[in-house]
């Protein structure tokens, strides 16, 4: 797999804040890559360095082989960026906005593709409407459309679904997924971890300007995989001491942390033997949110860091 984006030892300091502290990443062509981290972790700064909006203090970033500073014109042609802020130019209609954006990239007759984007993002009825008159969700769609006018091989979405209703979110993901299927590399930052889990093949987690986890979504989930068995029982006081010691703190259900499914039966057998009837039972698995919380707590950084 050839490399779409390579980030090498990027550092950036704003005053006293070390926003990026030696970030290294490689994102392959055609990947759907997630960039996660709490607020202030450096996600947007990293994306801004990638897009040439912020100049890194040291290190090198290449997009499709082009250095974002030394060969910025080529690098920027390869990139479509959907910014986090809901920005718009109030002077123009949706279509004018997209035509102007096309022109910046040297595309003068781009109406066929513009129409296709408008259609796919549900913007066609608003094509001649002034940007000022659009709702927040519609403005967000135009931002996505603007990032796509030049059919960039690499699409960067910085929190694209913040404040967006469910219907648009699903429509947007279908469209982005289709672009990814067609070979576009997609880089996503989001606070909705279930979105990242569902969409991203690989994930980097950032904390205080450093990569603290970098792995495929599946491996991350597996590495932290754990099951939690929740039970409601009658006469819990009859449970043997060995079982009670394993109960996790909490109200309602008696929750047990399990390393694997093979631990379920021995536990249930021990409870049955004590003559304690089970009234209700639930089994939950680790999701990306658990992994995220675990990593951000910093308890497992050494285990999580794995450079590829």
């Amino acid at each position: 797999m050839s490399i779409a984006v390579s980030v090498r030892q990027i550092t950036k300091r704003f005053g006293n804040v070390q926003a990026l502290d030696g970030i290294c990443l490689e994102i392959g062509e055609g990947e759907f890559f997630g960039l996660l981290g709490p607020n202030g972790a450096g996600k947007t700064t990293l994306i801004s360095c990638l897009a040439g909006l912020v100049r890194s203090d040291s290190g090198e970033i290449r997009v499709m082989g082009f250095d974002v500073q030394g060969n910025y014109r080529q690098a920027r042609r390869q990139l479509g960026v959907v910014p986090q802020e809901l920005v718009f130019d109030p002077f123009f209609t949706v279509r004018e906005t997209l035509r102007i954006q096309s022109g910046y990239f040297g595309l003068r007759r781009n109406d066929d593709w513009i129409d296709e984007i408008l259609e796919n993002l549900g913007l066609a009825p608003k094509a001649e409407t002034n940007m000022r008159r659009l709702s927040g969700g519609m403005k967000r769609r135009v931002l996505v459309a603007q990032a796509l006018v030049h059919k960039p091989p690499v699409i960067v979405l910085d929190e694209p679904t913040a404040g967006v209703d469910v219907e648009l979110r699903q429509g947007l993901w279908q469209f982005i997924q289709r672009l990814n299927d067609e070979g576009h590399t997609v880089i996503l930052t989001t606070h909705y971890l279930e979105e990242a889990e569902a969409l991203c093949g690989r994930i980097a987690m950032l904390k205080q300007g450093r990569v603290v986890a970098l792995d495929s979504t599946r491996d991350l989930l597996e590495r932290f995989s754990a099951y939690q068995l929740g039970l409601r029982v009658d006469a819990a006081d009859r449970l043997p001491e060995a079982v009670m010691r394993r109960v996790l703190p909490g109200e309602g259900y008696l929750n047990f942390q399990l390393g694997g499914l093979d631990e379920v039966e021995p536990l249930l057998a021990a409870i049955r033997e004590s003559g304690c009837p089970i009234k209700d039972m639930r089994l939950t698995t680790t999701d990306l949110e658990d992994v995220f919380v675990e990593i951000m707590r910093g308890q497992d950084i050494e285990k999580a860091v794995r450079t590829r």
């Binding site: 100049r55 910014p83 990239f105």
Partner: protein
């Protein structure tokens, strides 16, 4: 150069869409200046053997060109910065040279349109001659270029609208008002005459007026040289800011 062409088109479309405010309003302002000053001074003042109104009209035209060229690039940039829409021109592969030419080009165009508008609405008030039209064109273009470029510097430097207003009110407005639009600097005391010679806008107004009447306070060649050097200096300064990404790319 397609980035330049589109950016220029966008900048022109931007002011044209609000033309009532960006073109018609300054025409009205100039007309009001003319009516008031002509009413008060026409029968009492003659400058360089010209009726006062005839002397005033070229100055008003040039002042409109300068102020509107400055207003165009500065307001466009500060608005884009404050609203965040500047990102749309920072993300594409537009070089800083194209960026400069597009913003200054649009500023010059707006200045020229307002200037022509002021010429049109004031034409009945004074008998204008067009003694040397190339000088008129040259100084209008150079003046628009200087102010469009200064507007870019102000728009890039300012973080808030009030900072831009301060730049405009405390620098641009005094420089244009005290440049000989309303009077000949020969009517000033020797000290203020010397001070006026340090004001680059004086040379723009004086050279521009020479194009109409063939008379001026200083030689039009001197004015052309001074104005050209100032344009080069301001242009180089603006290009340096853009190349470094000052307050645009962090």
């Amino acid at each position: 150069m397609s980035g330049f062409r589109t950016l220029l088109y966008k900048e022109v479309l931007r002011f044209w869409k609000v033309g009532f405010q960006t073109v018609a309003a300054p025409m009205l302002t100039s007309l009001l200046y003319l009516m008031i000053f002509a009413h008060v001074l026409e029968s009492r003042v003659e400058i360089n053997d010209l009726p006062y109104t005839a002397f005033l009209v070229p100055g008003l035209i040039m002042m409109s060109v300068l102020q509107n060229a400055f207003a165009n690039s500065s307001s466009s940039l500060i608005q884009a910065k404050v609203t965040g829409s500047i990102i749309f021109v920072l993300l594409p592969p537009i070089s800083y040279g194209e960026f400069f030419l597009a913003y200054v080009g649009a500023a010059m165009l707006r200045g020229a349109m307002v200037g022509l508008g002021v010429l049109a609405v004031t034409t009945g008030f004074a008998p204008l001659q067009f003694a040397a039209p190339p000088w008129i064109l040259a100084f209008a273009l150079i003046g628009g270029g200087i102010m469009g470029s200064l507007g870019m510097i102000a728009g890039i430097w300012a973080d808030k609208f009030d900072q831009l207003a301060a730049f405009q009110n405390f620098l641009i407005l005094p420089l244009t008002m005290l440049s000989g639009v309303f009077f000949s600097i020969h009517s000033l005391s020797p000290f203020w005459q010397r001070a006026s010679h340090l004001n680059p806008v004086f040379y723009l107004i004086d050279g521009f007026r020479y194009g109409f009447f063939g008379v001026s306070d200083v030689s039009p060649f001197v004015s052309l040289a001074v104005s050209s050097v100032f344009l080069l200096a301001v242009g180089a300064g603006t290009l340096t800011l853009l190349r470094k990404g000052y307050k645009l790319r962090y």
